[in-house]
Symmetry: D3
Subunit: 287 residues, 6 copies
């Protein structure tokens, strides 16, 4: 027996394996909230999600399977130059590329939604026929926001410029400008308010494509996910999003991000716990 | 270009116009929580609701319309003599009268529920056939509370003395004394627990009357609206109340108040956000 | 008139009577959270539940009855030797025994779930045919947890050793290890995820047995009950649990505990309020 | 052994005796914050001060004596009609009178500073030569505040009308209007900023008079006492006020109040703890 | 009497006058925290400082004068493009220039310390002989921080490039890299740990120059100013900084900023209150 | 360039080296708060101290030296069986022994003060002439507390049984029972209230002995260290304790612990920051 036997390292996501080379999935945190216009704090998201994950069981009764025999690596948080959006996005893009070049599935934890832009840009290069599944309360389809082309509010407008038309499916949307809804009509499949019903309806289409999923936690109602940058009342319940997640096992997921968890606004940590639980299900499915 | 071009004034409700004379609706805050018996704090409600309103879009996908072309004025908060209930109510009454005399629709933000008393007293004078739609977890029909005739717990008993019998419709009620429920049987239309179903049932009646709506945010379950003076578990969801609000456009609304939002008990600001969203829908409908 | 007329003692549960001898039910608080592995704080539960109970009405419109004419005594909190689990459980057992010996129904407020072990051990001695109704997000059926036989995570494994096979009914379970679910298959009636539907289905069986109910507040979704030691997203709503509670009047309840309310994680006190409301309904039913 | 032996009643101040008749001192809480203009919350002061008192030792190394052999009774909180200032003050006055008529020393816990008015009015009737020692950051000498004669900001103006000229000694004052400072020059002994030095200088005078002490916790710097209604930076330290308190044993104290502790603004409870410690010293001295 | 008489507009700093043209001083808020590396939140500083200022008296017993007869204008907050540091600084510079061109003294509320850079750049152009008085816990003299030339940690290195050598006086510094301290030896007057003593010693020099004062609230110990981005234990007290401020009346102040107040980390608002009090003294002195 | 270059691992204490073998000092966290009688939470202390350490500079202007060239290893947190005090202490003792056997200096982060018992027991075996320097607000010299021999309140009574008489020096003590003070008179050097003055007086004695330092953060006043289990008003300032720490370089320190930091009661993280800063100074001195 030696001193290390007692030591408890809980800084990685529940059940993460220490071997990068054998990992099938790589978790990376992106503590960036530079363009948040309302309340900052999502930079603390990845760290907190890892921390609370250890309260969960590694076994999931939803999937009747466990994290224990899954090979995923938790790479920690990327070091972000706070205040320099351009350079931050470049770094995120490079990290994505290296994960992909190593033949692994990238799984990112935000941070703000803008981080999805460089990730999806890189992933979609590898999969021209990719479909983006986008869970969110906000359309995020503005062309310009506060004078900027790159912002959490413009991210899917930018992404739409890089992938095939009508290959973005949006669920739970309940906020946006008139222009965004007009743009959505022509360029995306946008589902207002509802999540589970339209998702199940679209499921058959999804099965024929490589899938990237981006999940803004504010798609869930603020009662279930108060810890987020821009809460929007009127969303789905935790139970509903977990039910949707249980169908992910039927998809060919090639990349994933979960964004906008903001611990400073999550006094009971229930948002981070919900995010950790969604992640656990996903890791079981991907493993 | 000059210095003022950069300056950002976010102290009024989202989209408020600066011209009182052309306004159709006038928002007034009432920072009064003098008779709160459990936890005070609703005095901070109006200010916080205005503040968080700027996180919302001015466009509503619920109503497919925007605040931008609506004419409403935000008059700020009334100055209340803390601790002097009688004088406070007199001032609220006078403000209401002046708004009505200017031919505008009064829209008040509480503050505690007692503020509805002088408002409704003045509004109902102008509309003898008025119907009061009352969303609340509590009956608020006591005759006397802690020895006082005027209290947040007696407000609808007092109001019932000023308007036609059976012209108060109550929704979502789940707390009261035995006497209050007996009184309700004879004098109001009280709907226990439920909100949307009985509201839709009564909608045809409402269409034939001038309508005053008073919405105590605690009608919504504390999960969705924790920031309130006396939370009462077992209420409706944010989604349900927003659905009910979407029917307000079919009514002839002559006055409105939204009360009992208590920011000190709303650590993630989701109660204020829900209130602001309800208000946005209402302003779009009234504009 | 004397000085005591003005004095307001709100330290006991709403409506508690001061006479132990005539009481039918005895409330006892157990401020123990020694084995909590995630976040401590349930030791403050009993005190806070009593405190917020005074915000509720003594009359319940759910049961159309009132606490006023019910005879129950609030004995305050047991003094626990913090850090000594063995001795703490012995004391709880002794207190239970004395309450039973006095012919009264014991009603305990936790504290962590482990407190149910000595209580149920004593109660079940008096009622060999007893059925345990267990509401919880977690199976709590481990054999050993962190090397300990006695822990909040092993409590129902221990209890299962003392009562008849298959006399434990579990509702709302959504977290556990593979072993716990295997054990449940053989030894308990475990209902995954759902609460109301399976409860109503089992109700006829319950009517023929003495019933002990143990309610871990985390059976409810964290949106409605954030203030708990190990929140688990995906539970039932406050409305649903209150509907289930409304059926308790059809049961022969011989003991009850409500555990895992953790005030430090309950910034808006809505978890304590829900617990107090459940308790009020129970006291009306038992009175 | 019986059930009550284990039960732990911590609702009274540390060391309070249960016998009113033999008590020399009576503690009464006054949960009133009706005229608070900035942030309410002092209504929760008395309850919280009692609660945290149990963290302290009953022995004081400052006075080398203990609460154990002191006879004081804790009468709990007065029931206040929230929102009715006039009636609230009448009730406080009556309670004071009864305590005095029973030959006991009254010790009050606020609540807001206005409560001192009826208390001092009654006490000073019994002691025409009384001196009032007033610790505070604010002069509280306005004639009228927000149109009201009775307010936390006018309380010592009112009191000055009832006692001998120049019999009020004020310490630590650092906020007021020009008029208040002019009034103070003619009618009180006001010491700006400093506490200990001027107190020691005045000590010889105090020894020849019956003394009433009123201590607004905001006399202490907000770093040491953040939990108060209107914090005013630039005050004394906790150490300094405790040193001043250690001289109280040389005085003939006939009444005392400690006011303006506001638990909702005291996230670490250090203000309540300081108040409880001051009270412990006082009770040891008075016993 | 009309509706506006009752209305209470508390969105500007206490005592601000509504006339820009006659104002001698102009307050501008800069809600920028883009380069904060630890915890963001100073963007909420200006708004909160204004809000709590209304709890203070307009009269100062420190200066025996009042805000009432001072002419200053509160221009509100500048609209900042979150995440675009370069453009944000340009805007701040332009606003500064316009205030100076109008012949008024600029007074800025941060926001992070980087905002001082464009302000001082503009102000120092008008006053070649200017001395910068810098109160701070941190040297802020790095050349590059996280790869960036413009950051809260490099601001005084940048400023030193624009003004005369040895014209920066630093007080209260207790954190930095070895290089920063070496740089300070050659280029600034840096005073470690202490504030009042070295300030008084340098006062005679200051009297012969136009003075710009930049006050990072973290110069004060975190006990007195917990609400800041990077608290550094071991600073001066609130009393000491207020004493230093009382000497500002002897200086020829041509510009001022107060930065790094972070309301999300200031649960009792005592940091904002201290900032507001410092500002009140300054406005009285400048008026 | 590869993916790891961007990754930012901030889970160890600032500047920790990854090589255990070459380390001179080993940091170990002990997340134990089982015997806390007032408010639990110190279990989160070690993790939070590490986290906030990254906000500090690695260079110290106090010691004019840096962590960069110091060899210390951060072993993470020990895994504690919550609720089993006996086994927890055994594990801590074993870990201490192994660190000592490897020829390294043990540095522990609590957790509650009881953890010092097994550590000092092991360390003192190696150094029979050892002197214990004990900074604390509480004497911790009870023989039994709540019926237990092993508790945070008895820890130095137990320790005194293992080392030479009068080899414990206590500083800053301001709370205890009469018996503890009597015991101290005979068995320890206890200094009431004061820290720096008596420490400097005893310094010459300390220089001739191997020294173990145990620092309960509550020795500092709650204004500077609110985040602790049992705050006791009237302590020293952060500045004073840092001055005392600056003398540690003159001592032959063979072991150290810093205990009772409780993050849940430290809303602005200033207590953790103070602890991290003390630790930085110590690591520089020990390196």
């Amino acid at each position: 027996m030696n001193v290390f036997e007692y030591l408890n390292r809980q800084n990685e996501f529940l059940g993460a394996k220490s071997d990068f080379n054998n990992a099938k999935v790589v978790i990376t945190g992106v503590p960036m909230d530079s363009t948040a216009s309302f309340r900052p704090g999502t930079r603390f998201g990845p760290k907190k999600i890892r921390e609370v994950s250890h309260e969960l069981e590694s076994y999931s009764v939803y999937n009747a399977d466990s994290l224990e025999n899954k090979n995923f690596f938790d790479a920690g948080d990327i070091c972000i130059p706070f205040g320099n959006v351009k350079k931050s996005l470049d770094i995120i893009g490079e990290v994505t590329e290296q994960i992909l070049d190593n033949g692994k599935i990238p799984l990112f934890l935000g941070g703000e939604h803008l981080i999805s832009y460089p990730i999806i840009k890189k992933v979609s290069k590898n999969y021209p026929d990719i479909i983006i599944i986008h869970f969110d309360a906000h359309a995020d389809l503005r062309d310009i926001y506060l004078g900027e082309k790159l912002s959490h509010a413009t991210v899917f407008r930018r992404i739409s410029e890089d992938i095939k038309s009508k290959h973005i499916y949006q669920f739970g949307i309940r906020s946006g400008t008139k222009d965004e809804f007009l743009f959505a009509k022509r360029h995306t499949h946008m589902n207002l308010f509802e999540v589970k019903t339209p998702f199940l309806k679209a499921l058959p289409v999804f099965k024929n494509h490589p899938i990237y999923i981006t999940l803004d936690i504010d798609v869930v109602d603020p009662a279930f996910a108060p810890g987020t940058g821009t809460p929007e009342p009127g969303g789905c319940s935790a139970k509903e999003i977990l039910e949707v997640v249980s169908f992910f096992k039927e998809l060919n997921i090639v990349g994933f991000d979960l964004v906008e968890v903001s611990p400073p606004n999550d006094s009971s940590e229930i948002t981070s716990l919900l995010a950790a639980k969604i992640l656990r299900e996903l890791l079981i499915v991907l493993g």
